[in-house]
Subunit: 285 residues, 2 copies
């Protein structure tokens, strides 16, 4: 394993790190950020949050604009923010340079199709390689993990948690893509990364996973009612229906006037982190 | 007057606006941001904060990374963030493209020297033109204004308040340049904008202003002890000495481990806004 610290800055009483490492999953160098709250300096392992970012983002968007550090410092949460795709020389991109596929748009799957399969392995990268690296390098308690994300990253958070509910004590999302098999962004990405056989898409589709029997006890989801992608790409009503039929406690909050941006995410970040902290902090290992 | 709203986004229960207008002071188009907290929708005029930015910044840096909206929403504060220089076709820049002079480095003065005097009039722009525009366009109470800023913008906040203490009920700064006449950034900027006669610099130098009799009752200043500009450019000890001799109540907090970045500013932003709110909110007009 091994990694390098690209930058380390004091913030909100803790340390905001940006790290890079050579990934065997993606066969590229990968960059991620980690916030260590002040409690990390007292020794012991802390509960941790995953934040998975949306289309076009790197680790930097949430790190600069997510407004998570005050809440992480208050509750003693480590927060890890991975990149959204492999990058670098030789990594193929959308041939037309589209922003919703290829670079910045890994969709948290292991691609099986040429030419994506060589590098676009964000599922293995996040769930196995980076998870092991973070546990080895930072004082985190793997028994107390929560996961959240935005848009494509909300899709990532939901699908990772539904595939591995035993890994997480809490799951939330901001404006997630809940049914990629049924919306344009998802059909394009899953079709190209995973091929035309739609049965292979189901474990990367939160609504399909729930229909197929995957369960988490509860979900917190915020969406903005002025989000321009709400009706076409996000379709939270599909998650609402699936959760109702499956008996999953979904708290879906439609926030009047909010859009899809970090102005929306940062507004509700502290509230999500408080909600996760109630499920992660002060509980036994 | 008149202005256009470039963007309007809901955030933290309020509205984050970016506005542009044609400035007669700078003879350019100028962009600024305004946060209107939720209380702005109840009618009435609200207390307001000025945030002046540092070298290389536009309105966007603090708007994206300053983490001020939660505190402004809590206390009912409007926050206005101007740009740091004129920009656009025909506006001269540092001939060597330096980042500490010219574009992004207006230093909150009205230049008197050729070729800067035509556009570099940030003193008149901020203190007269923009102040009048904001009062005309937004529900702010001019009797309840506070001012703060970062680095060059901390210099701007201190010097504007010391020249016009009657305008402000509260003044603070993050890592300010307190004595530009005595440090390289300031000597370069004031020398070029105002000419070699140093007596003309004194009303744009917080320490010199205090030595010359300018007074505010109290100041709150945070500096990071790991700020790479602390000893050479910021020199808070000069402000400390001047305030002690003048009887100005200065709360100077040296924050261990913090640098000059928005990771530092955002850490203490909520605390500064709380401090300003104690002096601005709930007091009579």
């Amino acid at each position: 394993m091994g990694m390098d610290i690209v930058s380390e800055v004091r913030s909100h009483g803790g340390r905001q790190l940006v790290c890079k490492h050579r990934s065997t999953a993606t066969e590229t160098e990968m960059v991620f950020s980690v916030f260590l709250p002040p409690q990390a300096e007292q020794g012991g392992r802390l509960p941790m949050m995953w934040y998975l970012s949306g289309l076009t983002c790197t680790h930097a968007n949430v790190t600069e604009k997510g407004e998570y550090r005050a809440a992480c410092a208050e509750h003693g949460l480590v927060l890890v923010a991975p990149d959204t795709s492999p990058r670098g020389e030789g990594v193929p991109d959308d041939p037309e340079g589209a922003w919703d596929f290829g670079l910045g748009a890994g969709f948290y799957v292991d691609a099986t199709e040429v030419p994506w399969a060589a590098n676009y392995r964000m599922w293995s990268y996040v769930t196995a390689e980076l998870a092991a690296l973070v546990e080895a390098e930072f004082p985190v308690d793997p028994a107390r993990q929560g996961i959240t994300g935005h848009s494509m990253g909300g899709h990532g958070a939901l699908t990772i948690a539904l595939n591995h509910p035993e890994w997480f004590r809490s799951v939330s999302a901001f404006a997630p893509i809940v049914a990629p098999s049924q919306v344009p962004w998802g059909e394009k990405a899953l079709g190209r990364y995973l091929g035309p056989e739609r049965s292979a898409w189901r474990r990367h589709d939160a609504v399909a996973l729930i229909e197929d029997g995957a369960r988490v006890p509860e979900l917190l989801v915020d969406v903005g009612e002025a989000d321009p992608f709400l009706e076409r790409e996000l379709r939270p009503e599909l998650l609402e229906r699936a959760c109702a039929e499956a008996g999953i406690r979904l708290e879906l909050r439609r926030q009047p006037g909010y859009d899809h941006s970090y102005y929306f995410i940062s507004t509700f970040m502290a509230d999500h982190l408080r909600w996760h902290a109630e499920r992660l902090v002060g509980t036994s290992n």
